[in-house]
Amino acid sequence: MNIIFLLLAISIIIALLFLIGFIWSVKSGQYDDSYTPAVRILFDNPVQGDSALPSEKEHEQSGSET
């Protein structure tokens, strides 16, 4: 029956980890806009540009476009 102390401790720690995860996600701005990401996932091609040159990306895309 003493195992319950260990179980309690573990369950609280795991729950705390989730809470920390939640706070991190709010802090990183994921809850600021709950609408646009839902639309974004329906686009066919990945959106990002970053430092890749546009022509390179275009090459990639036109290859995969039908």
Binding site: A15, F18, V26, D33, V39, V47, S51, Q61
Partner: protein, 816 residues
């Protein structure tokens, strides 16, 4: 364009290209009808070169996917805006969020974005323009966050790119003066997350207690863990304590005082129980209570990011104008202008401060300032006023005042703008709170006294139980949930309120004041009637060809009214300000314009009706006249009729008296006032309020701002949500105006529902108090009663609002 988040992917309201090609061509890019010249490229039709340009741009950069996403009603690229002033270092830095040598970030508001394809395109900008690193769209706020490399691009080029694609950024004075967008308030999310975490775990730990299981060491351990978990909950509810204390400092009891009292008693009593090992405590009820309260708070804080309810003149004015210094043109920020400076104002631009027209003649559109929609002719050396919009070729204005001294800013300094109508605090909750807390304290003391004589050991138990259970949680929940729900329903139907308290004021209204131009009538549309000799198709086409060259609003209206025809050969065009147009087409000499200029006999130029008329003279003979009348919005007569039975109505307008004949029969018994200046409108509302009336005002322009602010509910009406609206409590979409009676009815029913829910909560309170007073309030009973009361109240009001909305908005109104 109704572009709330609900219809990003919804089907087009107009047929997409290809499906209905029987009658007319539709532009492949923007979807509007190709009136006039259609450009055909690569087997697609375009309505203008702008759309064709964007098409090529997208194709060249491999972005043709744009046309396969969602609906194809893209924004039409407008005339290229002038962005030369963005080259100014100081100005561009003030607009950037961040900049260093290799990275610059800027956030723009793009009001024309309205569909999934827009989001797609705007996030693929890096493909179109090298130098743009990434762009992220926030659709509900209609914002884009752009990262670009300042070594490759400057801000002006970024803005011009957005403009060419059809998404001109909204740039106005308020943006550059450092009134940065409010950073999102994330605190409510943090609080909710923490409290939710604690609430769930406390419930889990409380289970053995509910099941009646006891264990010597474990029960104590669990209780201490629960105590520990409740401390964050207490901390997250500090907002209520702060607010209750703030109220007390001002000798004022608000709704948060009983809540704060309940929370503190819950915590203290439960901690005592756990520490002295007397029991288990009521922490589960505490956590549950705070959790529901926080949800209610988030639900009622529905905000509309694209709309702004707080505006002043600075959002209306541009950031800079062209100044003439020693004959050279120079872009100057507007707030650096001094009296004596000469500035150049082009067609469509705004005059930022009072001044004198240096030379020549022109016409100005003061509609936003005075409400008069007819352009005002201005001669050389006459005074021009801030807020006027130039019509025609560029003029030079010598300023006589500073921008802040103009007519508009002075209007804003009026007393009315000082008072703040808090959109959040409802009067109802405050009224209840005032007697609730004393009543509860009274009951607690009476019960305590009773037990003092019967069994003193129970005093502590009973008194704290009373304070715990008599919680206005139902009260504190029914209001936000009901009002939040109503806010959303109204928003979906084109009526956007600033905050939940506005609903309550809507329910209290007994007098409605209407502005005329732009509110009851369309500001743009006028019906056109022709009187005189019949014009042949050739002559009509010639007139159309002539007006095509002019940007004057009357010309534009005439152009769209006249039937389609091939454009003839125009030789010799001249536009004479305040008089009309002159030209020769295919051998005919045409003059169209004001009757006075053409020397028309009064027989063919009837006056008395709405002012604007355009007389047509061909080869020296006056043929006839086009009468442009202002058109009422659809359904206005029905609207005024149904409102008339429940409210007192009035109308105030800046225009002339001629419209009295039209409106008096529609608003029987109402007072109609014309030629009202903005201050007059404000005073009118004040007088009504002095008579004890609760006044709602509906208006659309800057000239209504004072009256809108002064009235109990100021409703700004607009046809385009992205455009400027004056400061108000609510924003109404133009085509929703006929639903006003239903909106008012829903608000009244909502308030009645809240009253009913108070009744339900009272029943729970009585039941709970019965347990408390008899000393029988165990944690289990509390844990059942309190959530039960909260949930049932929330369900009752939500269902009530949903049913009421269904009945109100599905009822077919009788058509006349």
């Amino acid at each position: 364009m109704n572009s709330t988040v609900d219809n990003v992917f919804s089907p087009l309201l107009i047929p997409s290209p290809g499906s209905d090609s029987s009658t007319s061509e539709f532009c492949f890019h923007c979807g509007t009808e190709c009136a006039g010249e259609t450009i055909i490229e690569e087997e697609h039709s375009f309505c203008c070169s702008g759309c064709a340009t964007v098409f090529h741009l997208l194709q060249a950069n491999g972005l043709s996917d744009f046309y396969s996403i969602g609906n194809r009603q893209s924004p039409k690229p407008l005339e290229k805006g002038k962005y030369g002033w963005l080259e100014d270092e100081a100005i561009s830095i003030s607009l950037l969020d961040f900049h260093n040598d290799s990275l610059a970030r800027v956030t723009f508001r793009l009001p024309t974005m309205h569909c999934a394809a827009c989001i797609w395109l705007l996030e693929h900008l890096f493909k179109v323009q090298p130098g743009i690193l990434r762009s992220e769209v926030d659709f509900p706020r209609k914002e884009i966050a752009l990262d670009y490399n300042p070594k490759i691009l400057n801000l002006r080029q970024v803005v011009e790119l957005l403009d060419v694609l059809g998404y001109p950024p909204q740039l106005n004075l308020a943006d550059s003066e450092g009134t940065k967008r409010n950073r999102v308030d994330r605190r409510s999310w943090y609080n909710l997350g923490i409290v939710g975490f604690c609430f769930g775990n406390i419930m889990m730990m409380s289970f053995p207690e509910y099941l009646g299981i006891q264990h010597s060491t474990l029960s104590v351990l669990f209780n201490w863990i629960i105590l520990g978990l409740s401390i964050p909950v207490l901390y997250s509810s500090r907002g209520y304590f702060k607010s209750a204390w703030a109220g007390l400092k001002h000798r004022y009891i608000n709704m948060d005082l009983p809540i704060a009292l309940g929370i503190s008693v819950l915590f203290i009593r439960s901690s005592w129980d756990v520490v002295s090992q007397l029991g288990h405590g009521y922490f589960d009820s505490l956590a549950g209570l705070v959790f529901f309260l926080l949800i209610g708070k988030i639900y009622q804080d529905k905000t509309y990011h694209l709309l702004s309810f707080d505006r002043d003149y600075r959002s209306y004015f541009p950031i800079s104008v062209t100044q003439l210094k020693a004959g050279k043109e120079e872009e100057t920020p507007v707030n650096k202008l001094e009296p004596g400076d000469t500035i150049l104002i082009r067609n469509g631009e705004l005059i930022p401060a009072d001044g004198i027209l240096v030379k020549g003649k022109t016409e100005l559109d003061y509609s936003f300032v005075t409400g008069e929609s007819t352009p005002v002719p201005v001669d050389a050396l006459a005074k021009v006023f801030a807020g006027g919009r130039q019509i025609g070729k560029a003029i030079e204005v010598k300023l006589v005042g500073k921008m802040t001294q103009g007519y508009l800013p002075r209007l804003w300094n009026n007393q009315a703008f000082r008072k703040t109508n808090d959109a959040r605090v409802t009067q109802l909750s405050s009224r209840i709170a005032k007697w609730f807390t004393p009543a509860v304290l009274l009951i607690a003391s009476v019960a305590g006294l009773f037990w003092y004589f019967h069994d003193p050991s129970q005093i502590w138990n009973v008194v704290t139980s009373v304070l715990i259970v008599a919680c206005p949680c139902a009260l504190a929940l029914s209001t936000p949930f009901t009002l939040g729900h109503i806010l959303r329903i109204l928003g979906r139907r084109g009526f956007f309120l600033k905050g939940p308290a506005v609903v309550e004021r809507l329910a209290d209204l007994d007098h409605i004041v209407f502005d005329k131009t732009g509110t009851l009538t369309h500001s743009e549309n006028r019906t056109v009637k022709y009187e005189g000799d019949q014009l042949s198709p050739k002559e009509l086409s010639a007139v159309r060809c002539l007006v095509r060259e002019s940007v004057h609003p009357l010309s534009r209206q005439l152009y769209s009214f006249l039937p389609d025809s091939s454009i003839g050969n125009l030789e010799d065009f001249e536009e004479i300000p305040s008089k009309g147009l002159k030209g020769a087409i295919d051998g005919m000499n045409l003059r169209i314009g004001s009757a006075k200029w053409l020397g028309s006999p009064t027989g063919i130029n009837p006056q008395g009706e709405e002012g604007a008329s355009v007389t047509v003279e061909i080869d020296g003979f006056v043929k006839g006249v086009f009468l442009m009348k202002q058109e009422l919005r659809e359904g206005i007569s029905n609207l005024l009729d149904s409102l008339n039975s429940e409210y007192q109505l009035s109308m105030v307008s800046g225009d002339h008296n001629y419209a009295r004949k039209i409106f008096q029969p529609l608003m029987k018994g109402a007072e109609l006032k014309f030629r009202q200046k903005p201050e007059d409108k404000l005073v009118f509302v004040e007088k009504l309020q002095a008579n004890g009336q609760t006044v709602g005002m509906v208006g659309d322009g800057l000239n209504d701002s004072g009256a809108l602010k002064q009235s109990d509910v100021g409703i700004a009406i607009t046809d385009e949500l992205a455009a400027f609206t004056p400061a108000s409590d609510a924003i109404l979409q133009g085509n929703s105006i006929t639903s006003l009676p239903q909106f008012f009815r829903l608000s009244r029913i909502g308030i009645r529902l809240i009253h009913l829910s108070f009744g339900i909560s009272l029943l729970y309170n009585v039941l709970g108090l019965w347990f408390a007073v008899t000393g029988e309030l165990s944690p289990l009973i509390a844990a059942i009663l309190m959530p039960a009361s909260s949930l049932s109240v929330v369900l009752f009001t939500s269902a009530g609002v949903a049913i009421a909305a269904k009945k109100i908005f599905n009822r077919k109104s009788p058509t006349k």
